[in-house]
């Protein structure tokens, strides 16, 4: 019973919005993408394609906004605290995470009993989140490479030749979507398996009390419920 | 004693070398070598049966339709599918268009230059040419314009595809009038148009030719509209008129000048036909051109064809794999050694029927149909025999001239049937039958697609496991006809047919080339 406190400083309001936009866009992109791959009901192709292109631009703009905001918005960089720093710190290696990779792996594999100490985002978590950025860009690149108005541009055509043609590019695009689906599944699972407080915070911006930590990861107050 | 080699043998599909031994002006031994190995059967492994239809057509760009049909038929046999009646008619029509196309192309574009000398045509009298054409009952063209065009071509000095041709070769019939040569040249040009008209029919029903698109296990993707049925019918009628009024009279006009060719070039006298053009029963023996086997030992009698007695010998060709296997267990592990007529000398395997080499092609089909009592075939063949002064003696057809004549007569038979089939399809569609495809979900089985390409018996053998191809073997007509010697040293059909051929000039063995080409390899 060691639930950390979930304060709004962890996810300032703008990130609640960008997270919502990401979620909606990804669901829309995956659905419309599946439909474009194999139209499983009739009379929807035009809408599906429209959705796919619209949300592709939305998610790219959202990604851009999120990255820029990281340099200007302050957010908590540790668990269970209201202290804030520039958000970009969350993207960089942090002292609290040092030497903790093995601990996290052991914890997830039930080889270690105690919850490892970590920053707001643990080692694996941080890596996974950061990887979504190049992954989004790769989805965009492969998507543009199979999208008629752009596919002939040298920047995309060169990549298409390199992977061995349109069909291979299409399959890579398809698999990137699957990586997103797997990411989302694991992300949703790990975020909520020890309690739904993280979801309440990121979706509804509702706080929940719990353990508070100092800069060394030591518990300084509060209690798990 | 002299060796004479034609390599490459031009005006055929593919790469063929013909080597003959000539003694006192007669061929006493022969070796035929196929020059190309691609490994089609290995490429198909682990792919879907429906993919085989597309890929196997690329075995032969002149008879892709038959390969496509044999392939889908093999899968249908393996999975126990019977195609709808409409699909049967559509396949017959596409196949018929290819037969007409292929036979016209063979006679005029590929083979005619062995019998017609364009240079001799230059001395033709135009008025006499018209008279001769009318007397022979063959089609009249603007012979004057053709002669002028030919003269300009020769005067220009750049002979393009005629460069280094054996003009004036003594094997061209001395007594054949220049006017008949000119008629041949004029119809050579017309034939180019006609073969394209036949190919257009395939394009309408199959997307394009060569390599059509619409057959697949279970039926066809082609669904006719009134417009398309009309486009097909009008073209078949046009072709039928041309075959009846030009191709057949041409054949009968030229044949008497080469009557000597009734006396050699027959080969072993064994003939195999798997049958082609299904009727409603889908039985091979009931096909419009029925299945059957003729073995020389039994004379001119026909027996049922049985695919279980097939073997393929490979000791004399460039393969490593086991010899004498049935195609359903066949392997094709290629390994080149060297060209040596006393050992291995060809990429072509040696298929055998109950141990015997078999000739495949229009002559096989026409003889089998004749012996099985197919009326239009009997009528045409009897008429032709009479014209050649051999009434009541069908055995003379086992010869070079017989092989050529059989092909041209078959064009007429198939062309007549094609009109019947278009009307059958029109009737079926008008009667409300809109079924062209039979869905299926079986994915295991072994089967054979036994069919006839224009150039002869064609077998596709498939083993399907888990929806994928575990084994695929093809025995093409040219594998039958251009077969190398078998493990017992017995010559292939073309090799045997070459033996006994008179050769005037060892350096330019035109007569040997005629024999080889007569198989349309």
């Amino acid at each position: 019973m060691s639930h950390p406190a979930h304060y709004r400083e962890a996810h300032p309001l703008i990130f609640v919005f960008t997270h919502w936009i990401n979620l909606i866009s990804m669901v829309a992109l995956a659905f419309s993408g599946f439909y474009i791959h194999y139209p499983f009901f009739a009379n929807f192709m035009g809408v599906a394609r429209g959705m796919h292109f619209f949300f592709m631009y939305v998610i790219l703009i959202n990604l851009f906004v999120r990255i820029v905001a990281a340099f200007f918005v302050k957010s908590a960089t540790r668990l269970g605290t209201r202290e804030v720093e520039t958000d970009i710190k969350n993207w960089l290696p942090q002292k609290l995470n040092r030497h903790q990779l093995g601990a996290w792996l052991k914890y997830y594999l039930f080889l270690k009993k105690d919850h490892p100490i970590g920053a707001k985002y643990g080692v694996l978590q941080k890596i996974a989140y950061i990887v979504t950025i190049p992954l989004t860009l790769a989805a965009a690149y492969t998507g543009f490479a199979i999208y008629a108005p752009f596919m002939d541009a040298a920047f995309f055509a060169a990549g298409t030749d390199w992977v061995g043609g349109q069909m291979n590019m299409r399959i890579i695009h398809y698999y990137i979507m699957w990586v997103f689906i797997l990411f989302t599944a694991v992300h949703a699972y790990l975020a909520n398996v020890e309690g739904v407080a993280p979801s309440r915070l990121i979706f509804a911006w509702k706080e929940e009390e719990g353990l508070r930590f100092d800069a060394d990861g030591k518990v300084i107050g509060g209690s798990g419920h | 004693m002299a060796r004479s080699v034609v390599d490459p043998l031009t005006r055929i599909e593919g790469h063929l070398r013909v080597e003959v031994e000539v003694n006192n002006g007669v061929v006493t031994d022969a070796w035929v070598s196929g020059g190309l190995y691609r490994g089609m059967e290995k490429i198909l492994l682990d792919r879907r049966p429906s993919d085989a239809f597309y890929v196997v057509q690329r075995i032969c760009g002149v008879c892709p339709i038959s390969h496509g049909h044999a392939s889908t038929a093999s899968t249908e046999d393996a999975l126990g599918i019977t195609i709808p009646n409409n699909a049967r008619i559509v396949r017959n029509l596409i196949e018929a268009a290819q037969y007409i196309h292929s036979h016209i192309l063979w006679f005029y574009t590929l083979a005619a230059l062995d019998y017609v000398d364009p240079v001799k045509a230059l001395s033709a009298d135009i008025a006499d040419t018209y008279a001769l054409a009318q007397a022979a009952g063959t089609g009249v063209s603007d012979f004057g314009a053709v002669a002028k065009r030919l003269q300009a071509f020769v005067d220009n000095g750049q002979l393009s595809i005629f460069t280094n041709g054996w003009f004036g070769h003594p094997a061209y019939a001395e007594d054949m009038p220049a006017e008949l040569h000119l008629i041949g040249v004029a119809h050579y040009l017309e034939a180019l148009e006609m073969q394209a008209v036949a190919a257009e029919i395939i394009a309408i029903m199959g997307g394009k030719f060569p390599h059509f698109m619409t057959s697949l296990p279970g039926g066809t993707t082609f669904m006719p509209t009134e417009q398309k049925l009309d486009d097909i019918l009008f073209r078949f009628v046009k072709l039928n008129e041309w075959v009846t009024n030009t191709m057949i009279p041409d054949t009968l006009a030229i044949a008497p000048f080469y009557a000597g060719a009734l006396g050699y070039g027959g080969g072993h006298g064994n003939f195999l036909s798997w049958g082609v053009f299904n009727d409603e029963s889908f039985e091979a023996n009931n096909r419009y051109m029925p299945a059957g086997v003729i073995k020389v030992a039994q004379g001119l009698t026909v027996a049922d064809a049985d695919a279980s007695v097939l073997t393929e010998d490979v000791q004399r060709s460039w393969y490593d794999s086991a010899t004498g296997l049935h195609p359903s267990a066949g392997e094709a592990d290629a390994n080149f050694s060297e060209y040596n007529v006393d050992d291995q000398y060809s990429w072509v395997k040696a298929p055998r029927y109950d141990g015997a080499p078999m000739e495949a092609g229009p002559l096989s089909r026409m003889l089998v149909a004749y012996l099985r009592g197919v009326q239009p075939v009997q009528d045409l063949v009897n008429g032709a025999l009479e014209a050649l002064g051999a009434a009541g003696r069908p055995e003379v057809l086992v010869s070079l001239l017989g092989r050529v004549a059989a092909r041209n007569l078959e064009t007429k038979v198939v062309s007549d049937w094609s009109l019947e089939w278009v009307n059958e399809l029109i009737g079926a569609v008008a009667g409300g039958d809109s079924k062209f495809f039979e869905p299926h979900d079986v994915d295991e089985g072994m089967g054979a697609g036994l069919w006839e390409a224009p150039r002869g018996a064609l077998g596709h053998f498939i083993d399907i496991q888990g929806g994928k191809i575990a084994r695929y073997q093809v025995i093409t007509p040219s594998t039958w006809d251009c077969s190398s010697r078998d493990d017992g040293g017995v010559r292939g059909p073309m090799e045997e047919a070459l033996v006994g051929t008179p050769i005037i000039e060892v350096e330019r063995p035109l007569e040997a080339a005629r024999i080889a080409r007569s198989f349309d390899p």
């Binding site: 349109q166 | 429906s50 071509f153």
Partner: protein, 388 residues
Amino acid sequence: MAHEDHGAIYDLLAARGVSRRDFLKYCGSIAALLGLSESFVPQIAAAVNHGAKLKPAVWLNGGACTGCTESIAQVDTPDVATIVLDLLSIDFMETLSMAMGEDALAAAEAVFEEPGYILIYEGSVMQGFDGNALRIGGKTGLEELDHAAPNAAAIVAVGSCAVDGGFVMANPNPADATGVKPYLESKGITTPVVNLPTCPVNPEWLVAIVVDVLLLGSLESGAILDKLDDWGRPKYIFGQTIHDNCPRRGHFENGNFVNEFGTEEEALGYCLYKVGCKGPQTYTNCPIVRWNRRTSWCVESGAPCIGCGNLNWVDVGAPFLNRHRDLPLPSVGNTQPGVVAGVVAGAAALGLGLHAVGMKVTGRMDGGAPYEEMKAHDKKRMQKGGGK
């Protein structure tokens, strides 16, 4: 460019039964094919008109099915097409040459001696068994190509086989087939190659190239090379996908699809995308030029495009009736990408499920385990360092 003997070509054509009017009409159709406006017709006529000497050419068959030769016999206007083939003096062509054996090869040899001819190559370049997978005249096909290529003004590779090996190079490529351009590049032979894929080649494209290269002099001027894309394909033929120009595109956008062959949807001519049409990724102008003298083309006959104009078209296209190609997985064999994705996703779901059970059993579900007091690593280091 000034052309002095304007009359010569007309005389030649007249001798071959073609009127001046027919000829200009023909030039018009060529202009259309090349994407030029009607105002170019006089220029084309002038270019054609520069002399009566036929350009020598040789047509070699590699590992071919002869389908491309067959295809060339299926051109729109045979009289004029004959002229085009007559304007080329094709002194050697296995399927059509009157000559045979050594005499036929000698005709080719005579052409090879004088640089500047056009070499047309049909079929795959067969490298298997040291080139013995293809034997012609007692030599390998490779020797023939090595000999023919260097002196040619240009090589036109007709059909997918000549472009990259075509179906013959599909996995496992038993005869080690490749295309003319990659083969010559490996040999350091720099003769320009114009690639005309699809299986077989569409004859209209060859006619366009013949006019472009020979009659507009675009080879000498280098203009032809500017019209080629990175694979050596003329952009004006292979610049747009079949999907871009498909007459059934409207059905695609509306979501009207054929789900199964032989159905009412098919009779209505709906889009064949779901049954595997490769039109969206295949760059050819088939829907516009069509096939067999513009009679029809694959999709019009109810058949999905199989992408025969793509590089390595069998491997990237099969199974042809599926949306995706197969992946050749080692020890598993050809597998659909969706199956792989399904298996991985299923395994992941199973893994998460098992993990959740573990979380429940270890009592971490509600709030997780207690936090460690100090990082395990630091603790260990402190113990080693004597409590520092």
